[in-house]
Amino acid sequence: MVLKLILLLFALKGEVLNIKDVPNDDGSKLRIEYAIPFAVFDSAFIYRIEGKKSVKIDRLIHNEGAFIDDGLSYKGHYKYKLVIYSDTLQKVFESGLVSPKASWFDTSQFPLFLVVLLYTGLLLFYIQHARSGKSMYLRPIAGLQALDEAVGRATEMGRPILYVPGLSSLSDVATIAALNILSHITKKAGEYETKILVPVRDPIVYTIAREIVKESYYSIGRPDLYSEDDVFFATDSQFGYAAHVSGTMIREKTATNFFMGMFYAESLILSETGASTGAIQIAGTDAVTQLPFFIVTCDYTLMGEELYAASAYLSKDPMLTATLKGQDAMKLIILLVVGILSVLNLFGIHITLGLF
């Protein structure tokens, strides 16, 4: 009788089964907290009841705990039932009807939003600075300075240039950077009347690469140099593409190979084949795992952000240079934050800024 009374009190106070909404979500989660009022029990199960449907969602091992019930709908109404089996006793506790709440905004991300705002502000500041006509310094990058030299070499040898814009889609920043560089290389190749071959793996990148090459020839007044066969879709299979590009290098005897963009395991196959043909090779990628292969097999390698910076360097467009300056300013701020927080940590002062 006393035990039953205690259990009833627990139940009334809602401490046996406590259902809470998970904040800052899309209304698909509820937090289930439980405290089984027995030191020892045989088994315990939690059921979710929606309308007349009851689904067993967890078997409890510990006396106390909490878990997230996922995959719910903010439009649904749910009840939870805790069933405890102990000796011959079976106790059932039921929660009230609850509904998960969907949030319009994830307020936990507010500090991150401020960081994005700060970064945007820096970019706008430098763009404004560029618009006022002030010059901005950028240090030279060896790989980019060698681009024209590499095009010139292909011209001297009377052989084509191979430009591989990576194997990824347009959603990769490296692909966008690669397409920007393609424009510069095509113009340069057009000036020297050197053929440029662009095998592509992604259908969307293929369409854009084709337009870029065509536009570049038009912009230097040589639309006659454009041939639809020079920019071609090879295959979307990774190693099929690698085999095809390797074959192209050997058969077309390309004098200069550019590997710009996102690469995966095929990077060494491509660049090693190119190196064996004696072609001058310039690579640029932000794929950390592939950079070592390009470094050992190519004459110049643009590492990570150097590839992104290439557009600003090659076009000398003040807007793009300003963007690069904005990124540099952000880097300094980040280093400053890391330095200050590290020093504070060393003195036992731990600050998270709501981010870390």
Binding site: L112, T207, F239, F356
Partner: protein
């Protein structure tokens, strides 16, 4: 020694040898294997995309289940094809604009969180109190590595004066990382090669069981 009687094993072995023949020089066998590979992969890719993408995610919901909202991706998808009609080729700008807009919106906050915030979090030096000396040295190396490598990618100052030793240190960290990555990947490639030889010597020629 039991040579395989399975024609598919023979085909796989011949194609493997044809691809390996490229190690000597470009030859008709490699060309044949290359073209079969490209052709089969493209055909497979088309069927795979149709069965796992276009039909279940677009055509079925739109034309079988009559979910009219799917008309939007359907039209956007058709706009890609406008590129083949020069008069309407400008339509392709719409799906591109949509793709870039949605892509940026989704990826920028994620990139800030995953690449930037997490990186900063684990770069900040911890309080050495109650920490082993080894762990603290590890944290210190990460701290110095990140600072010097980020400064290597700082484009607003030439790598001269104070920046010279800092960026030199940065490039040392980068090369150590690349060296480790290189070694690790080469090992993985060797295991792929071993797998291929196991296939040729074992499943095809049946030499492995004979040798054992």
């Amino acid at each position: 020694m039991h040579i395989s009687h399975d024609p598919w094993v023979w085909l796989a072995a011949i194609l493997t040898l044809a691809i390996f023949s490229f190690l000597y020089k470009d030859n008709p066998f490699f060309k044949m294997a290359e073209h079969i590979f490209v052709g089969v992969a493209t055909g497979y890719g088309f069927v795979y995309t149709w069965n796992n993408g276009i039909y279940p995610n677009l055509l079925k919901p739109l034309f079988v289940e009559h979910k009219l909202l799917f008309i939007i991706p359907f039209i956007l998808g058709l706009m890609y094809l406008a590129v083949v009609v020069p008069k309407f080729s400008y339509f392709i700008r719409w799906p591109f604009a949509f793709l870039l807009g949605v892509g940026s919106g989704l990826s920028i906050p994620l990139a800030f969180k995953a690449s930037l915030v997490e990186q900063i979090k684990y770069t900040i030096l911890p309080n050495p109190h109650g920490m082993s000396i080894g762990l603290f040295i590890n944290a210190l190396l990460i701290f110095i590595g990140v600072i010097t490598v980020v400064l290597y990618f700082y484009f607003s100052t030439p790598h001269e004066g104070v920046m010279k030793p800092i960026t030199k240190t940065g490039i040392v960290f980068l090369m150590v990382g690349f060296g480790a990555s290189f070694g690790y990947t080469v090992m993985a490639r060797f295991s792929l090669l071993v797998g291929r030889f196991e296939f040729l010597l074992g499943k095809w020629l049946g030499l492995l069981s004979w040798l054992r």
